[in-house]
Subunit: 357 residues, 2 copies
């Protein structure tokens, strides 16, 4: 899922997104709640109508942004108290509130509010991780209750913009396999339309992340999508699918594009590098996206160096196409029962030519 934080993927129009085959967008509840506000969006008929995107939208719970503002928030059993990064105003995000906001936004998939720990390096990390995982379970119960009450029209004052909205539970448990397993089992017991793995990609070694994924997915229903939140590199996509994941979101393709980093079939390419000043080749000769069909590395470098907005647009289009194409290739490989061959060939090609080393 491309990330459209504030109801738009930075630098690319919806039409451009459709041209690279984006079938679902992620949007951030925290940002939309503050501006323009979920009330305003509900009055517009929901997020789809407001932003003019008719395909699916997933919204996060807002928790991740709140927990990231270490100095501006406090957490207790009720929820998270925080101050807006815009005007300092005080807010309380509870499991119920996060569910209400997403009901008003009317996304197709809403996420429960979970407590997202940083990578726990302290000696008492295990106790902290257990307490946090258990709180996340209690919050998940409250979020599911609220979701069902909203669905039944029992919450006055909250507009349910999308009656067909689904709600995903989130597995926590830090880097402790047994906590992950316990979290998964209890979250599935609560009963959601599908399940996500949260609290990874937060600084732990990549092998540890893969291991946590591998130990969690067997505890999640095989007939429901499994969503690994906030991940990752192209390699992460392939390695996580190998361990049972179906759905991802990540700012890497879009954010790195704006910083001039292109993902290609031969590895990463930093377009601001002087070596590309006179390079007439497309960014990725193996790619069929608009950027690769029409722009040379020399032109893209020029646009980046002179600080043109179009650099962001063209780089983002390519990176999103590369990510979505990777997922298309994964799906094809699975259908044709060639996933293991694909996986080996893909990882090899990425390291074939270290473009910028």
């Amino acid at each position: 899922m491309p990330v459209g934080t504030q109801g738009a993927v930075k630098g690319v129009t919806h039409r451009d997104l459709e041209s690279v085959g984006a079938d679902i967008l992620l949007s951030n509840t925290y940002h939309l709640y503050l501006r323009p506000g979920d009330d305003l969006i509900a009055r517009r008929g929901g997020l789809h109508k407001f932003i003019g995107w008719s395909k699916p939208i997933l919204t996060d719970s807002g928790g991740y942004q709140v927990f990231s503002m270490a100095s501006r928030r406090t957490i207790d059993e009720q929820g998270a108290r925080f101050r807006s990064h815009l005007d300092g105003s005080a807010h309380l995000l509870t499991p119920e509130k996060a569910t209400d906001i997403q009901a008003q936004l009317g996304s197709d998939i809403a996420m429960v509010l979970d407590e997202c720990l940083a990578h726990p390096a302290t000696p008492d990390g295990r106790a902290i991780a257990r307490a946090s995982m258990e709180r996340t379970l209690r919050w998940a119960c409250r979020a599911r209750d609220r979701f069902l009450s909203l669905r039944d029209g029992l919450v006055p004052g909250v507009v349910v913009s999308n009656p067909g909205q689904a709600q995903f539970g989130i597995v926590q448990g830090s880097l402790f396999p047994d906590l992950r397993e316990e979290s998964a089992r209890h979250t599935v017991d609560i009963g959601f339309e599908a399940y996500a793995i949260g609290g990874l990609s937060v600084g732990e070694p990549v092998d540890v992340m893969y291991d946590m994924v591998a130990r969690t997915t067997p505890n999640l229903p095989a007939n429901r999508p499994r969503y690994l939140m906030g991940t990752g590199t192209p390699e992460d996509l392939v390695e996580s699918v190998a361990r049972g994941i179906d759905l991802f979101d990540c700012v890497l393709p879009t954010r790195n594009a704006r910083n001039g980093q292109l993902f290609t079939s031969e590895g990463k390419l930093n377009i601001r590098n002087a070596r590309y000043a006179e390079d007439d080749r497309p960014p990725d000769p193996a790619c069929g996206c608009y950027t690769c069909r029409t722009c040379s590395r020399a032109y893209l470098r020029h646009l980046y160096v002179v600080n043109e907005i179009n650099a962001a647009t063209l780089n983002t289009l390519h990176n999103l196409n590369f990510y979505l194409d990777t997922m298309r290739r994964i799906r094809d490989a699975i259908v044709f029962r060639r996933f293991e061959n694909f996986r080996v060939a893909f990882l090899e090609s990425l390291s074939r030519q270290p473009l910028d080393s």
Copy 2:
């Protein structure tokens, strides 16, 4: 002509430009000369290949940007000495050099280097204007000589990237009708593929500008395009066509779009205005552009307020479509011999509802 200063129209891809019917781009010699350099662009095969735009390109002479840097340039008969706004390096722009650079860029239309005066409000304005106009004529002779030498392959060290390039002369003469007439006659005597009117839209009252245009065009060949440089508002387009102009360039639609100002069939609309926060209508209900087909004023205001790049893209797309559509309507009206009716109706519609007054 949309303005693509550095080889790109800010915020919109070439594909987007084609979708609003742009048939020719203007690009700025001053900027491309400094970055990435006309030598580099010539080595890429010229500006069309470098930027991936196969339709016509007009380049200015670079003079306007140099003359605008009052404190960083000096002018004498030879040309204009200036310091780069990027690194302070010293450069000399002569009529020959401006012609050489544009030959290397390989635009379809090159402009001669002219001296562009500010609106002369001093008592000796007439003498200054005459001297400047006469120098512009001498520069035009030198530029044409150089252009013909380049065409004949007589200038070693300069790459002629586009053998079919045309060169336009420029009429000066400030706000003195007789100087304008004299300038036009002598410029036509030198003999260019077509002619432009320069030195207007520099602060004079709009009626004075229209009058200068009306007094200049009769002295320019009717069978060659007449180009009014750096103009203007939608009203200016219609009023100038009424006085014999065929071709325009202006940053107004693109620059104002990035500042949130939309040109519509009912007048100007400042999308940042709070009154649009809950306005579900398209920016211009009479417009068929992508932005108007898919975005509400409320969404565009949100994107502008939260500082999304996409605000620039969507607003620019609309404004360019409005400008190009105005020119299409003008052409239709002329073909059907209804231009006067169109002109009256157009000017009336713009003032029908002062959207932001």
